[in-house]
Amino acid sequence: MPYLAKLEKAGIPTVLVDFNDQIPSIEQEALAAGVPNIRHVTASRTIPGPEDVDRWIGPMLEMLTKPLTDQEKAESMHMPSQERILFEGTLDEAQEFYQQTRIIPDPLNAPISVYTDGLPVIVPTEERVAEMLKGTSHRPDEIITRKKGAPRFAFRGGEGDAVRFQPRLWTGTVEKVAINAVMAGCKPEHLPVVLAIAQSGVQTGTTVINHQWMCLSGPIVKEIGINAGTGMMGPGNPAGMAIGRAYQLMAINLGGAVPGVSRMSSIGSPISRGGLCFGECTEKLPPGWKGLNEDFGFKKDESVVLVQGGEGGFNGAQFSPGGYRALQKSGHGGMARRLGVKGLPGPHNWLDWILPDIWVGDREGSRIFVMVHEMAYDLYRLGFKSKDEVLEYIWKKSFEPLKKYRDRSWVDLWTNGWMGTEPTSGKPWKELPDDYMVPAAGNSPKDSYILVCGSDEEICYEMPGGVRRGEMSSVYSIDAWR
C-alpha cells in the first residue's frame, strides 16, 4: 500500500486488484498510508481466472478514468483515539469488560474477543502494571525500538527504529508491553523476555497455517524456571504458558490482529491458539555442541529468545519409543531392518530413518529439529561433533532432481517464478537440466537448526520454517531489556 500511496502522490492514478476477503485489511492499510479512498476491485479465490477477470476488468479500467468524487479529493487528518485509561470500575466489571466480543462477519460470522485471545485475562489495573514494570529498568514511556545488534525485522526498520507491530503497524511502549504481560499472567521477572519478543513485531502470518513460537536460551531458562525438559511444549509451566500467551495478546492489542479482518490464516494454528514458549536444555548438549545463544553470536552467559514463525504442520513421532530403543540397544525391529543393522547394537544414525521422507511426504524447505538429548548424544557418538555437522548431513540428504523439485508448490515463490538463479550453482534456473540435483531443505544447511530439549523419551519434532541468520535473524537479546 505505501507504494500505491507514493504513486498517487506523484500524480499517477492507480487501481488495486485483491481478493474480496482482503477488503477490511486493504481499508486499514490504505488509511495508514494516507489514501483511505484508494480504488480497488476484488477478485474471487474460486472462480476460474478468465471468467473472474471478465467480471471486473471493465470496472477496473473505469477506475483509472472515472473522475474523482468530492470524498476522493478530500484532504484531512486522521487522529485515532489514544486514551490511556481504557476502563474504570470494579474488578468484576473490569473482568467482564475485558471479555467483550464483537461479531466478525464473513468469513467468520462468530464472536471474537476485542482485547483477549478468548480466555479470561488478569485485569491490567494501574497497580498491577506498575508492579510488572519493576521487571525492567526501562522507562514506561520508552517506545519499543530495535536495539543495537538486534535483528532487522523482515519488512522494515533498522537499529533504533520504532518497532511496527503487525499487522496494523502500530507502535508500542514498554508500558504497553507490560500491560499485555499482566493480562497474559506473566510475572515481573518475565517482562524482559516479553520486551525482547516485542522487538519481533509479533507478526501473525497469512493464509496458510501459520504459527508462532519462542524458545529461550541462556541463564534465563533457570532464572524464570521455564520448562526445557519433559513436555516443554505442553501445558503446566507458568512461565512458558504466560510468555507464549503474551505474544498472542501483543499481536491482538499492539498489532491489531483480528481473525477474518487482518489475520487471515484460513484454518489457524493450534500452536498460536494459546501461545508456545519453552526453554533450551543447554546443560544436556553433547560436548562441543553450542546452545542457541552462542550459535547466534551471543555469549554462553547471555540470555536470548528465538522468535519463530513458520507455515505448515510439523512432523514427529515417526517411530515408537520402543522402536528407537530396540534400534540403538540391540539392532532390533523395523528401524534396524530398514537401516540394515539387524542384530547390531548402536549407535545407529536415526536421521537416515526419517530422511529424506520429511520432504517427500511434506513440503520442502528448512526445518527446526527439536530433539531430546539422548538422540543428540547418539549422533555425537556417531561422529557429529557439532550441530553444524548434523545440519550439513541433513541438507545433503535433501537433494533431489530438479524435475521433482519443480513439481512442488512453494518453489514458484522461492524461485520468483524460476526467473532467478539456482543458489548452489549460481546458474539461471531455466538453464538447468531436469536431472540437476537441488536441495529440498533450503538454500543452505544453516537455514535449518537444532534445539535440544525435552525428556529422555526418544522423539524428534521437525518444525517447519527455518531460522534466519545474520542481520535478519530472529534471535533477540533478553538482557538488553533487563
Binding site: 500524480g11 499517477i12 488495486l16 486488484v17 485483491d18 485509561i85 500491560i179
Partner: protein, 91 residues
C-alpha cells in the same frame, strides 16, 4: 462497596495520518502508458494480462511481475512516462 480500579489500555499506538487526495484520473486509457504490476501467484493475472493485451491494443502495457511480497517499483524514468498503474496483489 467494591473498590474501583483503573485499567490502562493495552492497545498499540496508531499514529496520526494526513490523508491526501487521489491523483486525478485519465481522460482515456487510449494511447496511454499503463503499468500492470503483479505480486504473488499468477492464477488470475495470467488471464488479466492476456485480456488486456488482446482487447486493449491501443494501450502501451508495461508488465512487472514478481512472486514476492513487494511490487517491482517503477524506475525513475518510468515514473516520468507512466500514466497509470494497475497493482495486482493476489496471495
Amino acid at each position: 462497596m467494591a473498590e474501583k480500579v483503573r485499567c490502562i489500555s493495552p492497545v498499540g499506538i496508531a499514529e496520526e495520518v494526513g490523508t491526501f487526495p487521489l491523483s486525478p484520473r485519465l481522460d482515456t486509457i487510449e494511447g496511454k502508458n499503463i503499468c500492470m504490476s503483479i505480486c504473488g501467484e499468477p492464477d488470475i493475472t495470467i488471464a488479466l494480462e492476456k485480456k488486456l493485451k488482446t482487447d486493449y491494443t491501443n494501450v502501451n502495457w508495461n508488465v512487472k511481475k514478481t512472486y514476492g511480497l513487494f511490487p517491482i517499483g517503477l524506475t525513475d524514468e518510468e515514473l516520468k512516462t507512466t500514466d497509470a498503474v494497475i497493482q495486482g496483489v493476489l496471495w
